[in-house]
Symmetry: C2
Subunit: 511 residues, 2 copies
């Protein structure tokens, strides 16, 4: 690689080639497809969790940008040698960490088309297909989820694709905030209160911070094992009443279907009943588990959604659509538009002024927006609703399989009931021959077990601590995962548990 | 296409194929590369601005999602027949509208790799390469722009890739807001004032709205022709002093290098001097023109940046990096982190706790983040700094070429001086034989001229209204644009001007 220099003289012959030259695009594009296909073919050879140390890459790359062009062959070699070792392989079939980032061929192709067209779809005018396909696909998906008509365009609601749940919550929170401040006066922003549970994704807290809600007015209502860490409507009401008595203004509730720590489900219907009594905006965050609700047997988890104001899920988590793709439906798009619209002269156009079109820039934070609906459209069409349901069911089935193996081995404990495709487990205190009052040791041993498994490179799982209990999360959902990978993961769990229990100070039975 | 139905029975044989099957990925991936290469080859055959009517797509697509899979061949046929007509071709060499969305082969390949790996890089741990490459490339780019060391990681500042400028402004505004409220008390949020000019991008207003700044406290300081629509430091100071006298708290200034309407440049250095005297956070929005500042001859436009707190540009505008890719540098990353961090248990890890790593989730709105640095890295390496400079210069040269043609034809007027690669022009009042006091008619005629040209499908330009004057914006920067396209566009301008002047009620000379 060169260094910054006397560039006018150094620009070389490649300059004659346009950076978007058609035939060069074709040549390099085919190369990258083969590169990625080989990556998927070989993916099990890499340690799932990257094993590099902090700062590894700065040692390997030059300090400054090259002055002269480098060939795609050289760059791809560097991707293989320098980048791939620093990647944690979310697409590996042995990836069971966090929540899945479930790629698919159709999702990938949709992203390629979107990148290839590279349109900026801030309003209808700037690329009508980008807006129209999005509204159509959001209606499709809404129907697949049996959302009430009030969330569809035909019912004067509608859906929009955002990047992430954080953005979806920030937009709906801002809409509800401005609706309320228009009633009670802007000076009262310091009185607004936002509610979630102690299991709600930190996106809510972050959105509240950004939207100017006083951090003192953020309520993470405590949950406990008796409700399987779901938010209790009674506890919510107690919190709301206390705030009202203190002269505050309850504003917004975020209820979760499938919490990040344990996939707990807040009881949507009774929570909405409480919230609506006090005039709160209710947002349902179904980032992970919402996708499963296209299966009739899971749909009941969002019963009551018809009483909510907004609902979102991440298609990039468990719906085969590559990052990023958060689906948000709202009942009252005008609330978003009132809070988020700006109408500069340079974007004025007839279609907008005739009120014939949606301008999605007014439904989100940013003005510029990618053509994200292409990938969701291609996922739904390429696989079809029936197969999509079966894919999701296959992940749930594999999680059940893993759960069964744990249950049959009395050294382990399922810490919270499995609801979707994630199992939360730990080595039980009894396996360590210790009593219930010594949770610290149990947590420590499980911490070591997890780190030991992840260090092996054979699997990647992550953890949660809920109700003081450290648990290992086993989330099935990587697209390439098959039953044999779950069986192999179980062997890894057994081996590492054997080793760790054998080295444990207190002698315990090994099975 | 089928409709929703009895899915358990209908799932067909394709279900046996994994949605990320390697060889099927290879087959379909190659198909899409050819599809896109053909699209670029044929792109001049399509009308640049889509000619469809609102609602066109709903008439062509089914109302519900298909139950059964559809082949990629069928879907691509639909992309060609149903989607492409609804696309405004931002990649067309005849696209001169808004600002460019300059794609390139390298940018496309980087996005493909990022999509293929599909990692979620919220923190270092979740994919070390994603974090480390980003910090390295942001230092590279910072050096290319000759940003002071205080914006680089080596100087305790640093850069981050966001989606868009809206997000970059919202993050820095939130950071400055919380810094100030920690000093003066949260109850004073209603006193904070945000400053820009009447030419500042509406992203500032939107960010202020979202961050809970009272809309009454948003100052769009008036600009005028005498300063070429740049923000006057004196006018800023007058506004600040008036707010102080009213008991308000000046907080944040957004200065622009290359405004959206006319590419005006606010005088960074004296504005920073004023702002710093009153303790404001200064953000420099160089979304469009920042890229040009890698050329020594344009660097002076950001002189004074060393006095600012944050600086951003959109690599997806004029730096060959596909949407979305906003580069943000800050001097004090801890201000961002304090305002935007959340540290849930399930993301706890050793690297973070040892403070050895950057966790970019705390530098932005969302937690989840794509591996965006790959595309910027590939653009810089594939073309090299020298060629990148020359590409940008070639766009400026083509804009000059177009400007020269306008100047030589006395029917036209360059409304504001050209600074970068955009020309703002109009048919002059004199060409219409009317006096200066009848601007309405002039604006009307130019509106008709623009619409007439865009209707032809041969070019796409957009407009602005500044100081009451309607002008046509001719922005060069689409990657495929060559001199011959600019010549052809000039012919379109001439033809349509001839027609429109000939049909104009008042007889005027036709050349």
């Amino acid at each position: 690689m060169g260094s910054l220099g006397n560039d006018a003289l150094e620009a070389n012959s490649l300059f004659n080639l346009n950076p978007l030259d058609t035939e060069e695009f074709r040549r390099q594009g085919h190369m990258i497809i083969d590169f990625l296909a080989d990556y998927y073919r070989d993916i099990e050879k890499f340690p799932v969790r990257s094993q590099v140390q902090p700062g590894y890459l700065r040692k390997r790359l030059p300090e400054s940008a090259p002055c002269n062009p480098e060939s795609i062959e050289t760059i791809l070699q560097d991707v293989q040698n320098e980048i791939v070792p620093g990647i944690t392989h979310w697409q590996s079939p042995n990836y069971f960490a966090y929540f899945p980032s479930s790629g698919s061929i159709a999702g990938f192709l949709g992203e390629m088309l979107s990148t290839g067209f590279n349109v900026v779809g801030f309003n209808w005018m700037s690329s009508p297909a980008a807006t129209e396909l999005e509204s159509i696909v959001m209606d499709w998906f809404g129907k697949m989820l049996k959302l009430p008509n009030s969330f569809l365009f035909s019912g004067n609601g509608g859906g929009v694709l955002q990047g992430t749940t954080c953005e979806a919550i920030l937009c709906t929170l801002t809409a509800s905030r401005d609706q309320m401040l228009n009633k009670i006066g802007r000076d009262n922003i310091g009185k607004l209160v936002v509610y979630g549970s102690d299991q709600t994704h930190c996106a809510l807290q972050k959105a509240a911070q950004i939207a100017g809600i006083n951090p003192k007015n953020f309520r993470a209502v405590a949950t406990n094992k008796s409700t399987e860490f779901g938010l209790s409507p009674d506890a919510l009401e107690v919190a709301i009443q206390a705030d009202l008595e203190a002269g505050l203004v309850p504003l917004f509730l975020c209820a979760t279907v499938g919490t990040t720590s344990t996939t707990a489900v807040d009881p949507i219907s009774p929570l909405c009943d409480v919230a609506k009594e006090y005039g709160l905006w209710v947002h349902i965050d179904a980032a992970y588990a919402g996708s499963a609700c296209i299966c009739p047997e899971f749909r009941h988890f969002i019963d009551g959604v018809e009483k909510a104001d907004s609902f979102s899920l991440n298609a990039h988590k468990w719906f085969f659509t590559t990052l990023d793709c958060c689906c948000l439906w709202v009942k009252d798009p005008s609330a978003l538009v009132k809070a988020l619209s700006t109408n500069p002269e340079y974007l004025r156009n007839k279609a907008t002024e005739a009120r014939q079109v949606i301008d999605y820039k007014d439904w989100q934070i940013a003005l510029s927006r990618r053509f994200r609906s292409l990938k969701l459209w291609m996922v739904i069409r390429s696989y079809g609703v029936a197969n999509l349901r079966n894919y999701l069911r296959s992940h749930v089935k594999m999680a059940k399989q893993f759960e069964g193996l744990l249950v049959a081995d009395n050294r382990f404990e399922i810490v919270v009931p499995r609801t979707f495709a994630m199992v939360c487990f730990r080595v039980a205190p009894s396996a360590m021959g210790i009593t219930f009052n010594d949770e610290t040791n149990v947590n420590e041993l499980n911490t070591k077990l997890l780190e030991s498994m992840n260090m092996s490179g054979k699997v990647y799982m992550t953890h949660a601590v809920v109700g003081g209990v450290y648990m290992i999360r086993f989330a099935v959902g990587a697209t390439l995962t098959e039953e044999r990978h779950v069986s192999a993961a179980w062997k890894v769990v057994q081996e590492h548990t054997n080793t760790i229990l054998n080295s444990y100070p207190i002698r315990v039975r090994s099975n």
